[in-house]
């Protein structure tokens, strides 16, 4: 029992727990829409695009949330705009901007003397080091994202499922698309400190992907994704505390394990079912 209660004696652990549960919740909600819209790659791109913003904020002594938000939201809107305007496929635009922004971040970073030390934190997160002020900022951003989704969940769902019919019946589909890209960007900003740039995409995509294996109704899919998204950080943080290993990586590993279990036992993809189907000719 002390194995579970001991870590709670540390203020940093409780803060980290609160932060990562919140991050898991927001990521699961946004990730559900992302997966259904086929935007998983966009999550990866925007997290990398946030990097120069984080570094710039660090250089200027500004809050990192501000820099990351400007860089990620700016890139999200640019990707949306170029894809709508240009004759370039969306994934191509994403590839160009994401690598370009990340390179700019590395360039900025290399201007800092003795920069190697903090790089690890930026790339892989350090939720155990989250400050009280950062936790408050994270909570405010989470309320904003979840609030917008609460107001517009129907409209987001319809425009995801059938954008043509939704637009014809009067929903502002293009505006909703931009708004959603903005929500992805904000979610990534929220998640950076917990899991870092490289692993954010897993927080976004894995819970929803796991839920897709288990549910064929939207509400249930969202519920399962939220359940995984909020439980995985708890498991991951304890494992990290006990084994003294990287917290962000363990959170993602717990989610990945959940996905693999669902893949093996799920009603549609499960190995048991596959075996049963292949047995009789």
């Amino acid at each position: 029992m002390t194995l579970l209660t001991d870590p709670l004696g540390y203020e940093f652990f409780v803060r980290a727990l609160a932060a990562s549960i919140l991050v898991g919740l927001v990521c699961a909600v946004i990730g559900t829409y992302m997966v259904l819209r086929g935007l998983a790659f966009m999550g990866d791109a925007l997290s990398h695009a946030a990097f120069p913003g984080v570094v710039a904020a660090y250089l200027l002594g500004a809050p990192f949330y501000l820099g990351a938000t400007i860089a990620a939201v700016g890139t999200a809107l640019a990707i949306g705009w170029i894809t709508r305007r240009g004759r370039i496929r969306g994934d191509t635009t994403i590839g160009v901007l994401f690598a370009g922004m990340f390179a700019f971040g590395i360039f900025l970073f290399s201007t800092i003397p003795n920069y190697v030390g903090d790089l690890f934190g930026f790339l892989f997160g350090e939720v155990l080091g989250i400050s009280g002020a950062d936790l408050v900022a994270l909570a405010i951003l989470s309320v904003i994202v979840l609030g917008i989704v609460t107001v517009l969940w129907k409209e987001l769902l319809y425009s995801t499922f059938d954008p043509l019919a939704a637009a014809a019946s009067g929903l502002p589909v293009a505006a909703l698309e931009y708004l959603f890209l903005g929500l992805i960007a904000l979610t990534i900003v929220i998640s950076l400190q917990a899991v870092g740039i490289i692993l954010v995409v897993a927080m976004l995509v894995t819970p929803a992907a796991t839920a897709q294996l288990l549910a064929d109704r939207f509400s249930r899919l969202m519920a399962i994704a939220v359940l995984i998204g909020t439980l995985a950080p708890i498991g991951g943080l304890y494992l990290s505390f006990w084994t003294n290993t990287a917290s962000g990586a363990l959170i993602v590993l717990v989610e990945t394990a959940a996905f693999l279990v669902a893949l093996a036992l799920g009603p549609r993809t499960g190995l048991l079912r596959a075996r049963r189907r292949s047995a009789p000719g």
Partner: protein
């Protein structure tokens, strides 16, 4: 002219091969009938549209009164879907004037239901048939508001009309092709529109589904709603619709549904894809299904134009 009332079976206009009549541009404020017939639902004057810099439709003139049940026919790539999207407000015209339900396209969006081609839909999406139909209610509900008893009643009624009540809780991908089309028509019905824009609503479905869905659309048209549906099934167009619009790069002809039997109209619509063998017309519509046809394969769709057989 025909009387403006009591003859829902007859299209108010006689057969009319479209030329350049130099008609006045439709004002958005008045959409009353031009000849004293029912008010016009859709009125296009000299409209052109395309994608990027390639024109798909040019010099389109079209008038469809309220209560009409119109099939849009023509070869693939001829602009059937584009015409529907134009009326739906999904495409900006390059030029010309469009009036839809007495306003700009999209101005009365909530009075309009658009159903895309089956190919445009992700059938693995995690929604049940009933959820899809409820989406038809979302635009009028607006943000924040959850569906209420009236919405649930409208959904139940729509599902009942298309015979899908028993399947309301099944995921859409688990339904047959015909059942999926029923569900999508139910979504349109649930939104209680004045104008239906349906892209290939009965393509590739079984006969029973086709009869059922066309009966529902026929009833909607009789109650004064305007129904416009694209089809490349000429037999279906002649049999189930009251008027047709033949489209190939522009509007070739507009008039009574029997027009699809007219050799001249067929010739001008399908051009080189049409072959007359004695009294039978053969549509060599090798363009359609080109997505799935292996290279070099040509589909011969033969039969009389009135009762042609289609490959499924």
């Amino acid at each position: 002219m025909t009387s403006p009332h009591r003859e829902p079976d007859r299209h108010p206009e006689t057969v009319r091969l479209v030329g350049h009549a130099g008609e006045p541009a439709p004002g958005h404020e008045h959409h009353a009938g031009h000849t004293g017939g029912p008010p016009l639902s859709v009125w296009l004057v000299d409209v052109s549209v395309g994608y990027e810099d390639k024109a798909v439709l040019e010099d389109v003139d079209l008038q469809l009164p309220a209560g009409s049940l119109t099939a849009v026919v023509g070869p693939n790539g001829g602009g059937k879907s584009t015409l529907l999207k134009l009326i739906a407000g999904l495409l900006e015209p390059w030029g010309g004037t469009i009036s839809v339900l007495g306003g700009r396209p999209g101005e009365h969006a909530r009075a309009m239901a658009y159903v895309p081609q089956a190919e445009a839909v992700d059938w693995s999406f995690p929604v049940a048939a009933g959820d899809v139909v409820m989406m038809g209610r979302y635009p009028r509900l607006g943000p924040l508001r959850r569906p209420g008893s009236r919405d649930h009643a409208a959904v139940a009624h729509a599902l009942d009309l298309v015979g899908m009540t028993a399947h309301a809780r099944r995921q859409i991908g688990a339904l047959s092709g015909g059942q999926r089309r029923r569900v999508f028509l139910a979504r349109a019905l649930a939104s209680q529109p004045d104008l239906y824009l349906l892209d290939e609503p009965v393509t590739g479905v079984d006969n029973a589904t086709q009869e059922d869905l066309m009966a529902v659309l026929d009833a909607e048209a009789r109650s004064g709603k305007t129904v416009i549906a694209s089809t490349h099934d000429l037999a279906s167009a002649a049999q189930h619709f009251r008027s047709i619009v033949a489209v190939n790069g522009t509007v070739i002809a507009q008039g009574d549904a029997s027009l699809v039997l007219d050799a001249d109209v067929l010739m001008r619509t399908y051009g080189g894809h049409l072959l007359f063998v004695g009294e039978r017309a053969v549509v060599l519509d090798d363009a359609h299904h080109h997505d799935e046809a292996p290279g070099g394969e040509v589909h011969h769709h033969e039969g009389t134009p009135g009762r042609g057989t289609r490959r499924r």
